[in-house]
Symmetry: C2
Amino acid sequence: MAGEQPAYRRVADQLRRLILSGELAEGTRLPSLREIATQYGVAVSIATRALDVLRADGLVMARPGAGTYVRRFERIVRSSPGRLARDHWGGGAAIQDHDTGPRVRAVDIVIGDAPASAFVAEALGIEPGTPVLTRSRRFVVEGRAVQLSTSYLPRELTRGTRIEHTDAGEGGTYARLAEQGLALTHFTERIVGRSPLPEEASALDLLADGARILEITRLAYAEDRCVEVNRMVLDSDAYELTYSFPS
Amino acid sequence: MAGEQPAYRRVADQLRRLILSGELAEGTRLPSLREIATQYGVAVSIATRALDVLRADGLVMARPGAGTYVRRFERIVRSSPGRLARDHWGGGAAIQDHDTGPRVRAVDIVIGDAPASAFVAEALGIEPGTPVLTRSRRFVVEGRAVQLSTSYLPRELTRGTRIEHTDAGEGGTYARLAEQGLALTHFTERIVGRSPLPEEASALDLLADGARILEITRLAYAEDRCVEVNRMVLDSDAYELTYSFPS
């Protein structure tokens, strides 16, 4: 990476500066590829790659047939353990409320079942292939799809409870588990940054090549027993994660 | 993103499959751009973009003038709070030992000082611009540059101690602070995924456009007092982060 930057990177850096400084404001339509190419003295293919970079960085979005627009977005602050503290969900609140506060949010929830994968089965202490309940959610904040989340729970803990309804009731799944004597005591979260799979990119409207996601795999424990596996896919540019922990 | 994948993405996916299946093994030289173009029936510019995707994913690396090679790498598991537990550094171990175990590792350490930025000053409770000690490290694991890390500490805590030496002694900086009655009690870490700055890309040998880093900002506390700010830049493809925490 020593030496000269490639031309598309130089063009991307200059446009990025205009966006971050506010000269190109939120919602502004960018000049056309041909205009950018002329303005910076590069080929249209170079201008195309420059916009690919900005899309990957989440600074602009393409509206098919209508051009490319500046899209800034204040990162969602996702604070652990606060968001998963018992006095939060125990008080009836939704975990995502802790993250987004009053920001406009929409959630699609789909309840289903699936045979447990080897990973899910091992975590939950059941045989691979055993049907487990799935709660799949897609979160949209201020019009931007930001997260996919699928929980996997043993059927014996969900059957006949509101966990099998899209609206699991006050405090959600964790409050329902607590009512069965399985109040959660601790969690582990594993975070990996990677490229999205095609279906993830599609569901999160990640238009550009080079977009990245954070995959978070959470295991939720009631004492020694893991009672839920949750696999989340977050638009990397939409979040910051914070963790507090003792020495 | 609905519908057909772009051609470069399709080519990248097929090459990725060959790498992940081991058909293209670690260290193998990839076919030339022209050969890839011919093989997949696409333009050379499409083959170029496909390799950009694989480089961004950390699956291949370019050796200037010598072609592109398969480079796989087992992610480093960075486990909190275990790596920062008092019984770890208190026992004389280096924190990074917890992450990499016996894997071959090299570290460059540079000691310096710098005026405290607004962020560092506020965290440490000092005036912006006050000189603070900086310990800047660059970690290389199995020949791959994986992390940059800079600690900022108030000079009053470091003056005349081994914290001002590149080798801070057994247990490192945290053991030296404990000897002054400032044993660390807790930490916060803030994680953001983003594109690298040019100097970060250069220091981490991130060759391709689209590479991503995880920026981790840690505040280390002795009771109520923040005594260290540590800003880390991790090659996103080289790490997985895990956190354990109570409900």
